[in-house]
Amino acid sequence: MSVEVESRMTQEAAPRVSGRDFLGAGETRRFLRSQAVLGGLTAVALIVALYMVFLYAPPEREMGEIQRLFYFHVASGWLAMVAFLVVFAGSLMFLWRGRLKYDRWAEASAGIGVLFTTIVLVTGPLWARPIWNTWWTWEPRLTSSLVLWIMYAAYLLLRGNFPESRKKYQICSVYAIIAFLDVPLVFFSVRRMRDAEVYRGLHPVVISANKIDLEPEMILTLIVSCLAFTLLYALLWRFRLRVGMVRDEIWRIRRVLMERE
């Protein structure tokens, strides 16, 4: 990180530390231990999910084996939603309370969200092609996911365009909040647009208000997949958050050292 950018960091932008050992050797060891435990749990959950997806869940009547992609697709979508919820919460808290750590929550989560939205957008067409003989359909859920992807990729772009400062975090938080509030409106408008046109019903509507059109084994597999992915999210997020904290502290100390000279 360049010296000029560092020197523009205000005193306020540096995080608070709550004790002498914070980010020190002992505390880091404890963090890594908890991560290992979480990692172990995640690994187990993912393996169980994998087993269930391929061996436990029955093949779908019409679509065959490709349908198994569904579990991955939906679980990724779920993970992305969790990630963006955290971005929203972090941004909201930052504007409300002003503590830097909330912005770091959002920062750590946004990249994960974009990654898994990308996975949704890739697995969708991979599924659509064999089944409906088309790579892309402009149907509501996929289209909304596309807009979602664009909004949060724009968030990352926005973050990259500012030097580190409280103003940057405020501006990015505002954008994250607006984007999140916009998501339901985007979905409704796209869906209404599509209702009037030919593509209605192309995307399988397995979960609607009245019933779930899946066999019980499939539902269980789906739930387990989503749970495993939630653990995965926690694992990834904690790591990114941690790296961010250490990086912040390094910047802060470098600044203090520079001011001394």
Partner: protein, 53 residues
């Protein structure tokens, strides 16, 4: 078909594992740098760290 899916899943899990390993490595490297910087900060450490930061 199943084979491809399974291979795809596994590949992604492997990539995730690689990414986690990378984060671990990066954390280690940054922590070492942090410790080094804190030493440099030296005697004022107590004051600097527990003050308004």
């Amino acid at each position: 078909m199943n084979g491809y899916l399974f291979a795809g899943y596994s590949a992604i899990l492997v990539l995730i594992g690689v990414y986690l390993g990378y984060q671990h490595y990066r954390l280690g490297r940054l922590s070492r740098e942090l410790a080094h910087l804190r030493e440099e900060l030296g005697a004022d450490e107590g004051r600097e760290l527990s003050g308004e930061g």
